[in-house]
Structure formats: structure tokens, C-alpha cells
């Protein structure tokens, strides 16, 4: 969603210019993207001029379409949800840029120009300080001819950037898509594809058979929705099917909400009490039986061939019958219901527990599908809250459609929309190819050293016929499996998409998982770059999400396991709406561990960098600051420096600013406290991010 929108487009064009020869982390420095009118999306008019870049914290987007953007396509009026802008009405690529901003791809420019050196690989230079707000002095390094509409790019970007915009030509100007040489970034791409699309993978629910590419936010397999009554109020959320009127493709929505889906014959998961899928019972019974047989049964077998076998089989039968009865009763007794704003879960046979979960406090929603469950077409739905280990609702198992529908309904409620709102559309953001994942996971010092050691041990063991090496080789192998094979299997087929209902991550093959992190739920972000990954130009992005605690945190807090550095900072700007990490000026530390240590404080965000070998960048928006510490050890006191630590909700990210002058550190503490105070005063919580009142968010 975000990268398709107006505001980020000029930014990314500038990024592409900077990428040539320079590793730029994200947006063009100093640029404020123009705002756009919203989407899934409340079309709210007030708010800060900058607005929110990802458009789903609805309050602060202006109504007017930004300058330079003309409505694309026939039959579409002025006030459009921004998503329409990305739908190229014609086959011309130039029309794609009709909204007035380029849609540069994340690959190298098309061969139409003599283009800059290929940037499909990792940016050659590392170690640059992108968030240091370096001025837009990157030379426009591409000579590809800019598409004509680019010259009419919105005036919002800084003039220097505008020239870069025009000059990047990274927009595949008039060249047809298939000729894209984006090395390995995917074959033919439909036009209007969002910019940061290294590889194109069409997901089923947003597959677009339309020739031009993306459709507006409707699953294309559905019939056209009934037309809205003229002047339909903003609060119209669900229309019954209107058989009289002829369907009008595509209707101009006068209401900010997407058209309601037609009546579906299946049970509406968003109303009434429902039970889990019936296949849960045999699955549970099967698992209990297997576990029992594998543990006790095998032990009993040892009692003797005849007697032991019959005893084992008999006991297993008894256990499975008992568990069958119990599972049926438990299945019968477990219901869930989606009420106004709450998910009510009733469980328990003897002791009935009714758990009411306020969805406005939702932190994350996951759909997990282990292997067997995948085969059967089921899924497990996990709703994460901020209540610690017990703050989780697990529904095992639902059919996949039900789980997806329920997930959409839960997120709609959390966003403040009605439960029947169709699932929010999404824009693909990043696809992690297996080769890249494999290479990056392998190319780390612990993995390389561990495997070398393991091989050496095995070689020594073979050469000297010494079995004792197994004592060292086996733990090493286990560690390698955990550190290398684990993430490899876990993050196979990783795709990240942006959507009004949050960041969607889909990954896994043996155990598929779909994580959704709603907007505003990320408390802090940490971008880690181990020393060898500097050569590859990739980083890992981890986030503090309040719902992921304990072991779930280690599982789920890595949002992007391997991602090019630029994309990581793009995502940061999407996850923290209203911030512009690239433009934060970083002040280096007086006496840190390395020259990389730096701290930058903006109006909205705090960025710290530290690390000698493994570089860590931590980004904390002021509104998420929980407390601030100033720490001074004896050695630091001698050197006259101190450290500032900014705490947020628990998670991998914890902002440490090391090596600051003592007086400066005190000033930093005061400044951050003041910014945090302002930010808290100005913001509502992230609940109901589409329909809440007009208070600028994230400031």
C-alpha cells in the first residue's frame, strides 16, 4: 500500500538515485512526501501537513489529493481512495506515473536508458550514515529518459529532489515490463506494480486477472458489488444486495469504506457463536494416541512380545477412547463469538471460562499452519494481546477460510470498522528468495565457524578413527541446526506485504505462518547487521511488539529476517507513521566503541547506532518511550562519558546511546523526556486506527 501511494513515490525515486554508488538507507534525506487521501481508510481531512505515510492511521490525512496527481482512468472522480491511483488505467507505463509521481522499481532502470550500474546486487558501499540527513546531493546518475508525467511531479518534494526525481528515470519509462533487467527480480510484472517489488509473486487472494494489473481493493473473483446509494453517508458499512440496480463497475465510492461484499451463503463468522472445526476432534485424538503409544506403549512393549503388545495396544485403545470422549465434549463446549468490539471465547467443561478480549487492544494476529494441518486445509488462529503470557487467544483449528475471515474481522474491529468489512487489500513489499535467505544465513561468522569446526572434527574423527569427536560434533550439529536450518526452514518463501490492517508477513513451508502486525503496535525497531552481512548489504529487522512475549517473542519478533538495507528503512517509515528516519541527523559519539556509534533525536523519533562488528541501529519513536536512563559506570566516569538508554515495551530492541559527553547526556535525557511528553500528549493510542477521532497520530 504504502509504496504505491503518492507520497512515497517521489521519495523512492530519489532513493534510486542515491543507490548508485551509495548505500542509501531509505528516503531521500530531507524530503517530506506529500500527503494523500486515504484508503481502507478513513478520508479524514484534518491533521498534520505531512500526514501518515502508510495511510492507515486515519486521522491525519488531508482530503485533497496532492498536487500534481490527476485521477487515473476513466469514470473516476476526484476524491478517490489512494489505491485507485495505483491502478494504471491504460497499458502505458506513462499513465502509471499519471498520479504524478514515478513508480520506480526496486531494480535497476530498464535498458531504455544507458542506466546506472546495476543495483540489483547489494549496494556497494556500506558504512555510510544514511540517517544522517545527508543533503540531496547524490548526482542523478541515471540517464534513462524520464517519462513525461514525471516532469509534472508534485511540487511537494524539495526542488533538489525534484530534479533527481525527474532524472532518475528508474521508472521503467516507456519500456515494456518484460524487458526489465532487474537481475533476478522477477519476470514480467504487471504494470502499476508497487515499486519495491523485487520479485513478483501473486498471492491468491489478491490475484488480479485484470489486464492492467492491480484492481481496486476487491477480490477479483467476487462479482461487482452493488452500487452505493448516492450520497451514502460515511457510516454506511454494510449494504444488503440490491437486486434492482445493475451493477456498475467500478463504482465511485462516496463513502470511505470499501463496498460491502455480497451475501454469501456460508455461515457468517462475524456474527453469532461458532465452534471450532470438527476435524479438531480426530486430530487431537490422533495426537494423544500417538504420543501415548510412543512413550508408554513402547515401554510396555518391552514387557514381552505377547503380553506387552496386547497390553500396549489395549491401553492405547483405552486412552484413545477416553480422549475421544473428552475431545468431543471439549469441542462441544468451546465456542467463540465476535461481538461488538470483543472476541468472546468460552471454554471449559467443568469450569466454564468466558474470556472477553477487547479487540481494540489487539497487538498482533497470526495464522499458523503446521504441516499436517496444512494438508487438511485447516489453520490455527492466534490473537495476541499485551497481557503477557496469558495474553493470547488460540483457536485450534479452524478451516482456512474461516480463519482468514475471522482474522479480517478481528482486524476490522480493531481498526474501528464493522466486522463485515472485507479483508483489506495489500501491496507486496518484499519477497525473500530462497537463495538469498540461504546465502545470508550461511554467511555469518558463527555459522561458518561452526560448520568449519564440525567438518574438522568429523575429519579428525575419521582420520584417526576416534569416536570421541562425536561428543563435540553432535552438540555442534545441533547448534547449527538450530541456528541455520531452523531459520532456513522457518522463513522459506517469505513475503512481506503492507496493508491498511497492518504489516503482513507470510513465511514457511512446513509450518506456514501469517503474521499481521497492526499499525501502531510496533514499539521499537532494531536493525541488525552482522559483520559479514555488510558485504551482502542485507540486514535483519526486529521489532518490539507488545503482544509477543516470552517464547513467542523469540519466534515472532524478527519481522524481516534478511532484507536489503534500503528496504528495511523503508519499512521503518511505514511502521512508524509520520516519521522520517532518513532525515534524522546523527551525532557521533565522543567515545564509543567504534566510530559507528551515534545518536540522533528528531521531533518524532530517536535513532541510536552502535556496534563495532555487529552494527545495530535502534529506532524508537518518542511516543513509545517508557522510561529513560542515564547510566555511568566507573570507567565511563573516568572518561567523562555516560550512556543513555531508552526503554520501551520488552523486546529485542533497546536503544543505547553510548559514549556521550556527560553534560550532553543530561541534555539528551531532558530532550527525550520533553519530546516524549509532547508525543504522548498529542497522540491517542493506536486503537481503532481507521475511525478514531481527529488527533494526529504518531506525533
Amino acid at each position: 500500500m504504502s509504496e504505491d501511494q503518492e507520497p512515497t513515490q517521489p521519495r523512492s525515486a530519489a532513493w534510486l538515485a542515491e543507490r548508485h554508488g551509495r548505500e542509501s538507507e531509505d528516503t531521500a534525506p530531507g524530503q517530506r512526501p506529500p500527503t494523500w487521501s486515504g484508503g481502507w481508510f478513513g478520508l479524514r481531512g484534518q491533521g498534520r501537513g505531512e500526514g501518515d505515510r502508510n495511510g492507515h492511521s486515519g486521522a491525519s490525512r488531508p482530503d485533497a489529493t496532492p498536487p500534481g496527481r490527476e485521477p487515473s482512468g476513466p469514470g473516476e472522480g476526484g476524491l478517490l481512495p489512494a489505491m485507485r491511483e495505483v491502478t494504471p488505467p491504460t497499458g502505458r507505463r506513462g499513465a502509471t506515473a499519471a498520479p504524478g509521481a514515478p513508480q520506480p522499481t526496486f531494480g535497476p532502470p530498464p535498458p531504455s536508458g544507458s542506466g546506472p550500474p546495476s543495483v540489483s546486487g547489494p549496494p556497494p558501499e556500506s558504512g555510510l550514515t544514511p540517517p544522517s540527513g545527508s543533503p540531496a546531493s547524490g548526482p542523478p546518475t541515471t540517464s534513462a529518459s524520464p517519462p513525461p508525467p514525471l516532469s509534472a511531479s508534485p511540487s511537494a518534494p524539495a526542488p533538489g529532489a525534484a530534479s533527481r526525481l525527474a532524472a532518475t528515470g528508474s521508472l521503467p519509462a516507456a519500456a515494456p515490463a518484460p524487458a526489465d533487467p532487474a537481475g533476478g527480480f522477477g519476470g514480467d510484472r504487471p504494470e502499476g506494480r508497487p515499486r519495491f517489488e523485487p520479485a513478483w509473486q501473486v498471492l491468491p487472494q489478491v490475484s488480479a486477472p485484470a489486464p492492467a494489473g492491480w484492481r481496486p481493493y476487491r477480490a477479483p473473483t467476487r462479482p461487482a458489488p452493488p452500487p452505493r446509494p448516492a450520497g451514502g453517508g460515511e457510516q454506511v458499512r454494510f449494504l444488503p444486495p440490491n437486486g434492482n440496480a445493475a451493477p456498475v463497475p467500478p463504482p465511485v465510492p462516496t463513502s470511505p469504506y470499501p463496498p460491502a461484499p455480497p451475501f454469501r451463503p456460508e455461515a457468517d463468522i462475524t456474527r453469532g457463536e461458532h465452534r471450532l472445526h470438527m476435524a479438531t476432534v480426530p486430530l487431537r485424538v490422533l495426537m494423544v494416541t500417538l504420543v501415548f503409544f510412543a512413550t508408554l506403549g513402547v515401554a510396555l512393549l518391552g514387557l514381552g512380545p505377547e503380553f506387552g503388545l496386547s497390553l500396549a495396544v489395549g491401553l492405547t485403545l483405552v486412552v484413545s477412547l477416553v480422549s475421544c470422549a473428552y475431545s468431543v465434549a471439549a469441542w462441544q463446549a468451546t465456542t467463540f463469538e465476535l461481538r461488538e468490539d470483543h472476541l468472546v471465547l468460552r471454554t471449559g467443561l467443568l469450569r466454564r471460562v468466558a474470556r472477553e478480549v477487547p479487540l481494540s487492544r489487539l497487538q498482533a494476529v497470526d495464522i499458523v499452519r503446521p504441516l499436517i494441518i496444512q494438508v487438511l486445509g485447516l489453520a490455527e488462529l492466534r490473537v495476541e494481546l499485551a497481557g503477557g503470557d496469558r495474553g493470547e487467544v488460540r483457536l485450534r483449528y479452524l478451516s482456512l477460510r474461516t480463519a482468514q475471515r475471522l482474522r479480517a474481522a478481528v482486524l476490522a474491529h480493531a481498526a474501528g470498522l464493522a466486522g463485515q468489512t472485507p479483508e483489506a487489500p495489500e501491496w507486496r513489499f518484499f519477497h525473500l528468495s530462497f537463495g538469498r535467505l540461504l546465502g545470508a544465513l550461511a554467511f555469518r561468522i558463527p555459522v561458518l565457524a561452526g560448520s568449519a569446526l564440525f567438518l574438522a572434527l568429523i575429519a579428525v574423527g575419521i582420520v584417526f578413527a576416534e569416536l570421541g569427536v562425536l561428543g563435540g560434533a553432535i552438540p555442534l550439529l545441533l547448534a547449527l541446526m538450530r541456528g541455520f536450518l531452523g531459520p532456513l526452514l522457518r522463513y522459506t518463501d517469505f513475503r512481506a506485504s503492507l496493508s491498511p490492517d497492518g504489516l503482513r508477513l507470510r513465511y514457511g513451508v512446513l509450518q506456514t505462518r501469517m503474521q499481521t502486525v497492526p499499525p501502531g503496535r510496533v514499539q521499537a525497531i532494531r536493525i541488525v547487521q552482522p559483520v559479514l552481512w555488510r558485504a551482502l548489504g542485507v540486514v535483519r529487522l526486529e521489532a518490539n511488539v507488545a503482544g509477543y512475549v516470552g517464547e513467542r517473542q523469540m519466534d515472532s519478533s524478527t519481522l524481516l529476517p534478511v532484507v536489503p538495507r534500503n528496504l528495511a528503512f523503508t519499512l521503518v517509515d511505514h511502521l512508524f507513521p509520520g516519521t522520517d528516519v532518513a532525515s534524522v541527523r546523527l551525532e557521533p559519539a565522543r567515545r564509543g566503541w567504534s566510530r559507528y556509534d551515534a545518536l540522533g533525536v528528531d521531533d518524532t523519533v530517536l535513532v541510536t547506532r552502535r556496534g563495532l562488528l555487529c552494527r545495530v541501529t535502534e529506532i524508537v519513536p518518542h511516543v513509545r518511550v517508557q522510561d529513560i536512563r542515564l547510566v555511568e559506570g566507573p570507567v565511563s566516569r573516568l572518561l567523562g562519558v555516560a550512556s543513555v538508554v531508552v526503554d520501551t515495551a520488552p523486546g529485542p530492541a533497546r536503544a543505547w546511546a553510548v559514549g556521550r559527553d556527560r553534560a550532553e547526556a543530561c541534555r539528551i535525557v531532558e530532550t527525550v523526556a520533553a519530546h516524549a511528553r509532547e508525543a504522548r500528549a498529542g497522540s491517542e493510542g493506536p486503537e481503532r486506527w481507521v475511525t478514531r477521532g481527529d488527533i494526529p497520530a504518531g506525533r
Binding site: 522510561d627 542515564l630 547510566v631 559506570g633 566507573p634 515495551a649 543530561c666 535525557v669 497522540s683
Partner: protein, 163 residues
């Protein structure tokens, strides 16, 4: 040797009670006296008697150092209630200043273990959503601790915001 950092503008540091020094000394004694005695016997039994005597001497030296270190510790604790934040300061070797905004306080506790109860002091703990981190002030007189807790609870409601 006073408080390590400057007070926030508009307020002064408030110190903890003198009895906190005695609390620290008593805790130290509770550790060193049995440790020294039993250790002396053990060491003297396993090694030579001179080693046991050396152990006792070491314990006495530690006790003396701790006696005066308790004064330093007691002097290093301070708190100040700023406009929108609570400032806490503590530590002698590793000195820390913690700023906790009122709006971020989830819980405020007053706790006192047996020894603290005997001395009439208490500890105020402030919990935020960053649950791994604890901000606390030890050694406040009990009534001051309860008054501080009430003030903090009232302010945290006034200033509270979402997570």
C-alpha cells in the same frame, strides 16, 4: 559525595532516610558475621589456623569498608518529582538516573521486608510497560513512601496514555 546528577528544573532532590544507612549496615553484618565466623572455622580446619585468621581479618576489613560505603549509598539515593516525570537517582559505582513519565506508570508498589519494617522504612517500586526494567527508591520513611505512592498513582491516572 552527593547525588550524581542535577535535579530537574524546578524541583529539588529529596533524600532517603538516615535509617537506610543502618539498613545497609545491618544487611552487611548479617552476611559477614556468620560468613566470617563459619568461614573462619572451615578455612582454619581445612587449611592452617593462620588462613582462618586471615579470613577473619578479611571479613573485618570488608565490614569496615562496607560500613562507610553504606553512607555513600545512602547519600546517593534521591528522587524528584518533575512536571511530567519522576526522576530517580541511585548508585555509587554505577550511577544511574532514571526518568519515568507519570503517564507511563502502570503500577506503583510500596514494599518493606522484615528488616525494613523494623527500621520503619520502605521501598517504592514503579513499574512501566518496559517490565524488564525496575525503577525503585529504597529507604524512604514509611509515611513518606505511602504519600509518594499516592501522589504517583494520582498523577499516573491524570497523565495516562495508551501503550
Amino acid at each position: 559525595m552527593g547525588v550524581a546528577f542535577a535535579a530537574p528544573p524546578g524541583s529539588e532532590w529529596s533524600r532517603v532516610s538516615r535509617r537506610y544507612v543502618w539498613y545497609r549496615r545491618l544487611v552487611l553484618a548479617a552476611v559477614l558475621v556468620p560468613g566470617g565466623g563459619a568461614g573462619a572455622f572451615l578455612v582454619g580446619g581445612v587449611f592452617t589456623a593462620a588462613a582462618g585468621a586471615a579470613w577473619v581479618v578479611a571479613c573485618v576489613v570488608l565490614g569496615g569498608l562496607g560500613w562507610y560505603a553504606a553512607v555513600l549509598t545512602g547519600r546517593s539515593w534521591a528522587y524528584a518529582e518533575g512536571q511530567a516525570d519522576l526522576y530517580l537517582c541511585h548508585g555509587v559505582v554505577v550511577r544511574q538516573l532514571v526518568v519515568v513519565p507519570y503517564g507511563r506508570m502502570q503500577l506503583v508498589d510500596v514494599t518493606a521486608n522484615l528488616l525494613e519494617q523494623g527500621l520503619g522504612i520502605a521501598t517504592v517500586r514503579v513499574y512501566t510497560a518496559a517490565s524488564t526494567v525496575e525503577a525503585y527508591i529504597a529507604g524512604l520513611p514509611l509515611d513518606e513512601a505511602t504519600r509518594l505512592r499516592d501522589r504517583l498513582a494520582m498523577r499516573s491516572e491524570t497523565y495516562s496514555t495508551g501503550l
